[in-house]
Structures are given as C-alpha cells and as structure tokens.
C-alpha cells in the first residue's frame, strides 16, 4: 500500500504528472474574480469565502480525470486488480495520493489567496479548517466519479457532470463554515455537518468505487 502511495506521489511530481496544475488553476480563478466583479473591497470581502471554496472545488475537479484513467490506459489497473491488494484499498490510496498532491496544496494556498480577496481577519482560520475538513471528501467523491467513468475515452466532461452534484453538500457546508467564520458567527453546526460528510464519504465511498471499478474492468 505504501508502495502504491509513493509511486503515485512520485508520478505526480515527475514531468507531466500534473502536480501544481490544480494549484495554478485555483490561483488564476481567484485572481480573476476581482476583474469580473470589480474592485469594491466590501463586496470582495463578503464573497471571498464562497469564491475561495468554489475555486478550490473546481481545481480539485480539474485533476480528477487523470486519477484512474492513466492507470487504466497503460494496463496497470488490470494488473493491480489481480495483485494481492484489495481494490478497496487501491482506490483509497489513490484518493489519498490525490488529496496530498491536490487538496493539501489548495488548503495551504487558500489563506494567501484570501488576502487577494480581502477576506476578513477572523475568517482565515475557519477557511483553512473548513478546507482541511472538506477537501478529503472532495478527493474521495472524485475518485468515485473517476471509477464510474474509467474506460470511457475522453470521459472527463461526463465525469465532471457526475461529480459536481455530489460535491454540493460539501460545498454548502464548507463555504458556510468559512462565511460564518469570516462574519464572526457561530460555526459549530455547519462544521459538524461538514465533518460528518467527510467521515461518511471516506468510510463508505471506497467500497462503492471498488465495486464500480470491478464492473468497468470486465
């Protein structure tokens, strides 16, 4: 299992691995928001938590189509399916590697980009906490979407259409935590719901991903 994780991290860092693509996309989206809504700082401060969450979500989505598709194309997925590793743990490790290479950098970049959007000082810690809790769910749900569309040529768009609705609860509660935090309100309820969504996704979705992967490998 460790070997698979290390291999995926190594592949992400090597040429063409796509590490940093999501991060660069996040940066560009956030920088473009003031261009499109205008430079009023009160307006930016109000929409900052939502924009940052949406940007992080889209950046996460962008890198999903290489999560399983590359392994499927070169035959590794067939070989991994016949290896001693259960498919459930294979997809869990893949989701973890995706989170480390995409989700974690987004969490770390978010406060910096918050400055660009004039995020109120109280909001920074809740933004980071909400992203830290929410991005694992994004990776796990995304792995499920990638497993559903593996084997389809150029299935990236279809995957986005399948995954986006599944991201809705995470987005609602994640950005609600960040918004309430920025406005100095109590965050406990949305925070607990966000944590619940993440915990449930991580616990249940690997089984679903492995099951659809088995069907798609036939």
């Amino acid at each position: 299992m460790i070997a698979l994780l290390l291999r995926d991290l190594k592949l992400a860092l090597r040429a063409g691995g796509g590490f940093g693509l999501g991060l660069a996309f996040f940066l560009i989206v956030t920088v473009m928001v003031p261009f499109s809504v205008g430079p009023q700082s009160e307006l930016l401060a109000r929409i900052a938590p939502g924009v940052l969450w949406l940007g992080a979500l889209l950046a996460c989505l962008l890198s999903l189509d290489r999560l399983l598709a590359l392994d499927w194309e070169d035959g590794s997925l067939d070989l991994l399916a016949t290896a001693p590793l259960p498919l459930e743990s294979t997809v869990t490790i893949k989701a973890l590697a995706h989170w480390i290479t995409t989700g974690l950098p987004l969490v770390m970049a978010a406060p910096v980009l918050g400055v660009l959007l004039n995020l109120p000082a109280a909001g920074f810690q809740w933004l980071v906490i909400s992203l830290l809790l929410g991005t694992p769910a994004l990776s796990v749900i995304g792995t499920f979407g990638a497993a559903l569309t593996v084997g389809l040529k150029r299935g990236g768009l279809l995957m986005s259409l399948l995954v986006m609705p599944l991201y809705v609860p995470t987005l609602i509660f994640g950005s609600e935590v960040a918004r309430r935090g920025a406005e100095g309100m109590a965050v406990q309820t949305p925070l607990l719901l966000l944590a619940g969504i993440s915990a449930a996704s991580i616990a249940l979705l690997p089984f679903a991903s492995a099951a659809v992967l088995r069907v798609n490998l036939r």
Partner: protein
C-alpha cells in the same frame, strides 16, 4: 497447486464467445492456447485471472495464485526500469529485482526511463514483472508480441525455469516457443449462436 477449469463459458460484451471449456493445469506444466483472432482467448484468460465473472462453470485454484500479463505492460513512462519493477515487487510483498533484470537482460537499462525504451524492451520489462510477483501460475496473453528471436528465447528460458521451480503457465500465443507444453486449440469450443426462441404459441 493445480488450476482447474470446469465447463467454463465466457462472454465478451454480453455475447458468449467460448463454452464448455474444461482443462487443468498442474504445477510444472504449461498450456498453450491457440485459436484464430476473435475466438475469445483474451476473454478466457481474463476470466481465469478473475477480472471478469464466468458466464457458467468454475475456475478453481486461481485466487491469489496468478500473475497476469496482458497486451499492455502497465509501465509508467516517467519511472525508470528499476523503479517500475521495484513497485510491482513491493505490491506483491517481495523484494529483489536483480534476478528479473538479469533474466531479461535489462541490467544495462535499469536507470533508463520506461518511456524511452523501444517496444521490444518495454515488453521485456513487462515480462520480467512476472518474475518479481512470486506467483506460481502465470497467465500470459500474446507475450511475444514485438519481441525479437533472441528475446523470445530469453522468454522461453524464463518460462522453463519457472516450470522447473514448480510453477505453471497458461499462455495464449501463435508462435512456437519450443516449450514441452500441451496445446489446447480453443476453436472447437466456440459458442453456438443462441437459439432464437421468441415464437409465441399463444399468438395463434
């Protein structure tokens, strides 16, 4: 360790391709599958490897015993030859790739990126993966594609050594590997088209 296949029927895309197939593969033996293109050799091998469920019949003795080599080698172009092999070795809980590198004459290429190898060299690397799995039953689909004569001999030697250690091999191939192996022509097992039985007597 014997691999036993009883009355197996396999389907591809929902259409039965082979039916009523039975054979057994004892340790130290090799079985060569032959048959024209499209007859269902790959489907049969994938079913035996457990990648797809059989339509009917049973496969026994395959679980956690097989190493499967398909048309594509499962190599990562940005990893080196040694890194690719080390990865597969550790997935199968083993270490030591030297024997595999020696067996397929890959020592001089060990630090080359797999993406920079020729088609034949890639295939040799893909085949050397079988040596690091430590699994007793090798299931191989057209293993000699894009190999030159010397490499085919190298491959035949590796299979012979594997059989000598009590392993077994199920190989779909069209060329003569020079192995003392049983040959199974799957042609006669071609699935008959299903009888059309949608005549509704009540209609009369």
């Amino acid at each position: 360790m014997t691999l036993t296949v009883t009355d197996l029927s396999v389907a591809r895309g929902g259409i039965p391709v082979l039916e009523g197939l039975s054979f057994s593969l004892a340790s130290g033996k090799a079985l060569i599958l032959r048959g024209p293109n499209g007859i269902g050799k790959t489907t049969l091998l994938r079913t035996v490897a457990g990648l797809q469920p059989p339509l009917r019949g049973q496969v026994e003795g395959a679980e956690d015993q097989i190493a499967y080599a398909a048309h594509s080698d499962g190599l990562k172009p940005t990893l080196t030859v040694a890194e690719n092999l080390t990865f597969w070795a550790s997935v199968f809980g083993r270490n030591g790739i030297e024997q595999a590198l020696d067996g397929f004459d890959l020592q001089t290429l060990r630090d080359r990126q797999a993406g920079a190898l020729s088609a034949g060299q890639k295939r040799r690397l893909g085949l050397s993966r079988m040596l690091v799995t430590g699994r007793p039953v090798w299931i191989m689909d057209e293993p000699t594609v894009s190999l030159d004569t010397a490499s085919v001999a190298m491959f035949a030697n590796a299979v012979r050594a594997h059989l000598g250690q009590g392993g077994s091999a199920l190989i779909a191939t069209h060329i003569d590997l020079g192995l003392e192996a049983e040959v199974l022509d799957v042609g006669p097992y071609k699935a008959k088209p299903p009888e059309i039985d949608d005549f509704d007597g009540d209609f009369l």
